[in-house]
Symmetry: C2
């Protein structure tokens, strides 16, 4: 909610709760929820067990990729939010390196951790036949393929990476709630790194056309309503002790920092990472209540990325959060 | 265009041409058009060369996957038409087996020919490390991986498969026009098998928000206008001798055949393949001006598909088209 003079007003929780209740009521039930629940339980148990050196692993939920909004119940058409998932996938690798257990909540078909240097269609582009029975990796992709398979399998086998895919906004928010509630007991040792591009508008399930919208009769007018802002509820109710980071992406640099500041106050995030569409791979601005820190990739090193210094900074801030007051 | 009593009225070409002109004028210019043009030229030259036995290869353009409609010029949000690309990818394999050269015009990220039995993320799911330097295919995927890499590389190396990716409706229609014009000289030996799920509505580029649509102020109202029906122009002007097959997908079986019939007459297609969302992998109906043929997969054979008998039938009809009058 914004006041008329543009400053952020905290949204009353009662009102938000009513909107969220109505959103979840209108959502189609989540498929495989029992299976997701079981995977989460096992993952948390494994990573919260105290090892020899006496401290359990920190757990971060990294959300990645864009959510879709179906326009028809038997979904043929939908609105999609573009996001390659590159930020989330890359950040996941650095979090695992830093000793975190990562719940990777990702859009089906987007980038996976350890796979960012691969071409679009790795199976067809990276392999070749030597003879009738044997295939091999093509030379230029040799390192990238090994890194992808090895890195990914090692992280999954060690129990440091749990991958949960979503497609629609309904699936995403239901899964985010399940994750938040299941890691709640780990208190401040948990982090939410919400890099997913979440739809702002949706068509309530009950208002939706059951069948494919017919195109015979002139222009199509659509009314979409706002998706309730779950960040407030995540922060205050679902996971009140967690360290929360959200992202603000704009195409217009003029309003970016103002929007990031507003999100910080409105949803009581600990950090908002502000990024602009055209420069997001070079630079981001880490916005907290008292700082604005420019984080850039190391341009002197080819192949470097902005996620490395970004995750270093956030891990450091998370440590301070764990020591300090968690509010 | 439909008359008030539901019968198809042929659209006057002048009117369609004006709409199309305005659509193409409003479209952002196609990237890599020189490169696409070059690839097409080489592909046609290679496949229209008469081999020893005296007949050139037939050429089919298979379109596959869904097109997107951007809602913002610097595209963050877009409307997407769901299509896995399974139909187009599978059909491509059968066309190549039947001796066709295939131009596979596909949506980025959708199914590729020879890859339909692979899991979602083949690189991560199908391979494992034996030791530090060597990877191998995991046993259950052994045949599928070999088939994918071998089948695909053989077809591409032989010059029988040209893959051209698109994302937006603007790219799709511009590329379809380029293809039609470049294979035009091959006359009736060409086929269009238009399995792509093409957007019916779009936002004209000039009406589009330059920046990301802001979500602060209430519901979002959108007006989309109809995409001009290119099929008429493809059939009459771009490739008047080609054998043209379009698809009609509906979720409501009650209106399916009526819609298919209408499309057949309205766009003067040679064949419309009618399919229903829920049963499309089991059965389709091939609609021509004087027949409605139910084509089903062979349910007695596990792993069989409906594309096999469908392509057999269409190849036969294409042979008749080549012999007969081509109008």
């Amino acid at each position: 909610m914004e006041s008329t003079n543009g400053t952020a007003i905290e949204v009353p929780l009662g009102q938000v709760n009513a909107e969220i209740e109505s959103f979840f009521e209108s959502a189609p039930p989540l498929k495989d929820s029992a299976d997701i629940s079981k995977k989460l339980k096992e993952f948390i148990e494994l990573n919260s067990a105290t090892p020899g050196n006496g401290s359990a692993r920190r757990v971060v939920c990294v959300s990645s990729g864009g959510t879709t909004v179906p326009l028809e119940q038997r979904c043929v058409r939908y609105i999609d939010n573009f996001s390659s998932g590159h930020r989330g996938a890359t950040s996941t690798e650095y979090f695992i390196n830093a000793g975190y257990a990562v719940i990777y909540l990702y859009r089906r078909g987007t980038f996976q951790p350890y796979c960012r240097s691969l071409p679009d269609d790795p199976l067809l582009e990276c392999f070749e036949f030597i003879d009738e029975s044997d295939i091999q990796v093509r030379q230029p992709y040799s390192e990238a393929v090994k890194r992808a398979i090895n890195g990914h399998h090692t992280a999954v086998a060690a129990g440091h990476l749990l991958k949960l895919p979503f497609t629609t906004i309904f699936e995403y928010l239901q899964m985010l709630q399940m994750i938040a509630i299941s890691i709640r007991n780990l208190g401040p040792h948990t982090m939410f790194y919400l890099a997913a591009a979440v739809s702002d508008f949706y068509v309530p399930w009950k208002d939706m056309a059951e069948h494919k919208i017919q195109s015979a009769s002139g222009p199509l007018d659509m009314r979409l309503v706002q998706v309730p802002k779950m960040l407030s509820v995540l922060r205050k109710e679902w996971a009140p002790m967690a360290f929360c980071i959200s992202f603000k992406l704009e195409t217009d640099s003029e309003i970016l920092l103002q929007k990031a500041d507003m999100a910080l106050k409105k949803y009581k995030m600990h950090v908002v990472v502000a990024n602009e569409l055209l420069t997001r791979k070079e630079e981001v601005i880490v916005v907290t209540s008292d700082e604005k820190i420019h984080v850039c990739r190391d341009k002197t090193r080819p192949g470097s990325d902005v996620e490395k210094p970004l995750i270093e900074l956030l891990v450091e801030r998370h440590s301070a959060h764990i020591k300090g007051p968690h509010a």
